[in-house]
């Protein structure tokens, strides 16, 4: 697929395939096209050209229906809202018509005493925890994750890796964190200037392979 924003070619004839149940890393530096790829795959924006299938459907056909089957963790400081954390859980439960197992997530992500605060009064890391919950609570067939560890402390980072591991469905992980990709991914694509430059099946010594590809 291809995508341009004005004169900027964000994605140039990018092509890849992901199998069910894999945790796939999409690795690249800032501005490589990682977030754009997620936005196209989840029907948030339209591609310029190319063929595409996510869970058997073209994301542009019915993006809302597709997103009801997905989990998406965007790279942003959400949720910026006047809802409390508990109300935010109610909100996403209502949207997805599925209850959040509140007690489980409070324990896993150390959210004790945080859910009655307005979300905009929480720290960035605490807000990121809520976003992780919304991406996984409904056990989606496929989860798209963009820089998941942003603002999280090391203890919670370990718990998030465990959440990835426990989630037995497919995960598409965009990151520039090589260590994270090496640790959790079954397969990695290197992306550079809007193109997939290498597919790595063996994620051992990923840092070395990564640096070889990005000598700027």
């Amino acid at each position: 697929m291809e995508k341009s924003f004005g004169d900027l070619k964000a994605l140039k004839d990018i092509s890849f395939e992901i199998n069910k149940g894999e945790i796939v890393g999409f690795l690249g530096p800032n501005g490589a096209g990682k977030s754009t790829t997620i936005e196209i795959l989840t029907g948030q924006i339209e591609r310029d050209s190319g063929e595409l299938e996510v869970l058997g459907q073209d994301p542009e056909d019915d993006p809302v229906e597709l997103r009801s089957r997905l989990g998406i963790l965007p790279e942003r400081e959400d949720p910026p809202s006047f809802l409390t954390g508990r109300e935010y859980f109610e909100f996403i439960s209502d949207i997805r018509d599925e209850e959040v197992d509140e007690a489980n997530w409070i324990e896993r992500l150390h959210l004790e005493g945080k859910l009655d605060k307005l979300t905009h009064n929480l720290s960035k890391g605490e807000r990121q925890k809520l976003m992780i919950v919304q991406a996984f609570f409904h056990k989606p067939e496929l989860v798209f994750i963009d820089e998941p560890m942003t603002n999280l402390d090391p203890v919670i980072q370990e718990e998030v890796k465990q959440i990835f591991d426990d989630h037995s469905e497919t995960i598409f992980l965009c990151t520039h964190n090589v260590n994270l990709a090496e640790e959790v991914c079954d397969k990695v694509f290197f992306i550079k200037n809007g193109e997939v430059v290498e597919e790595i099946e063996d994620t051992q010594n990923l840092r070395e392979k990564f640096l070889n590809n990005y000598d700027y």
Binding site: S68, I72, L73, F82, L83, D94, I95, R96
Partner: protein, 367 residues
């Protein structure tokens, strides 16, 4: 920012539009009516006050903007988090920007239009225009500061009308000033009506039947409620969920009715206390208010989608809005003046048509 959004030529059209409206209005007032420069002077003074209050209302949402509730709403506001600038200084800069903006794009063309028609005899009115503007800004800022003492946490999230509507209601009630900020905006706009009706002889016809025309008017100015409802989020905020911008727009329209109808009804009941009308007048007034609110949200969302707070500054959109309002609102106001002469059915028929068109516009509106 505005020139970027609306492209240069379109943006330059805005003061020209204001100038033309001012010129035509002043000409009509001075040359085609029995009213004189004195009335024009008074109108200019009150317009200045009204615009000042509107600009000063920024105080109601600036705190939330500063806390990044609105996301990176703009670089100026966001910079309080990254640069060595105090929030107070940023608010003052923002205010100064708005004062310059309104001076160049509203007050100046308005003044030139009036001066070209009535010469320097309206000089005192120009002074009142600018003086009223400054007074209005200051008064609104004082009020917005007082409003921070108002608790807004008593309401809790409910999905009774859908999750997005529930969130919209919480956002507006818990943001700075709570429901009072919306009440304030409506007070300013309805105050304009009562001030003109009570103090300007040319508008005293409305006093023959003030409740019904007030019903029409308050439904029309309720656009400000739609503006407030769209201040706290963006359709992009929900894109990671199975929600699209059309769903957000529908929720905004429903939220508008849930907030606006009780508020405008409160104003109407307040008016009933002062002008005790017959049951028929009260019912007609409430019906007129409901019908024009449906039209307002339909027209507002049709023309501006989820961005009423800046798309209405596009002169093409602004003129369309004025034109579309004049098709239904002006006839409704005219009929309301003579309704006692037996125009009840005509009035109700036009109200029905107005609501129907509003409903169609709302259904076909795009984000």
């Amino acid at each position: 920012m505005h020139s970027e959004i609306f492209n240069g030529r379109s943006f330059a059209m805005f003061p020209l539009t204001i100038f033309l409206i001012s010129f035509i209005g002043s000409y009509g007032l001075i040359e085609l009516s029995t009213l004189g420069a004195n009335t024009l002077t008074q109108i200019l003074g009150f317009l200045g006050l009204f615009m000042g209050l509107s600009v000063g209302a920024i105080g109601f949402w600036s705190r939330d903007a500063m806390k990044n509730i609105l996301g990176s709403y703009n670089l100026l506001v966001y910079s309080s988090r990254t640069l060595p600038l105090s929030r107070r200084k940023l608010l003052l800069s923002f205010l100064l920007m708005n004062i310059i903006y309104y001076t160049v794009f509203f007050l100046a063309p308005l003044s030139i239009g009036a001066i070209l028609v009535s010469g320097l005899s309206v000089f005192y009115g120009i002074g009142l225009l600018f003086g009223g503007f400054i007074a209005g800004v200051l008064a609104a800022i004082v009020l917005s500061n007082l409003s921070t003492k108002v608790p807004g946490y008593s309401i809790s999230y409910s999905n009774r009308f859908g999750p997005l509507v529930g969130k919209n209601i919480v956002d507006i009630m818990r943001s700075t000033g709570g429901i009072l900020k919306v009440f304030f905006s409506l007070t300013v706009l309805t105050g304009l009506y009562w001030f003109i009706v009570l103090y300007f002889p040319f508008a005293s016809y409305f006093l023959q039947n003030p409740l019904i025309s007030f019903g029409v008017l308050i439904g029309t100015v309720s656009l400000t409620v739609y503006n407030w409802i769209n201040r706290f989020d963006d359709a992009k905020d929900y894109i990671y969920l199975p929600i699209d911008s059309k769903m957000v727009l529908r929720a905004k329209q429903k939220s508008f009715l849930l907030v606006s109808v009780p508020l405008t009804s409160t104003f109407l009941f307040g008016a009933f206390l002062f002008y005790s009308g017959s049951y028929i007048e009260i019912i007609l007034s409430l019906t007129a208010s409901l019908s024009t609110q449906i039209y307002t949200v339909g027209l507002g969302s049709y023309l501006t989608g989820l961005k009423p707070n800046y798309r209405l500054f596009n002169p093409k959109v602004f003129l369309k809005y004025l034109g579309a309002n004049s098709i239904f609102i002006l006839p409704l106001l005219m009929i309301s003046l003579f309704i006692e002469n037996g125009f009840y059915l005509e009035f109700l028929g036009l109200l029905g048509l107005t609501a129907f068109i509003g409903f169609v516009l709302a259904k076909t509106a795009k984000p």
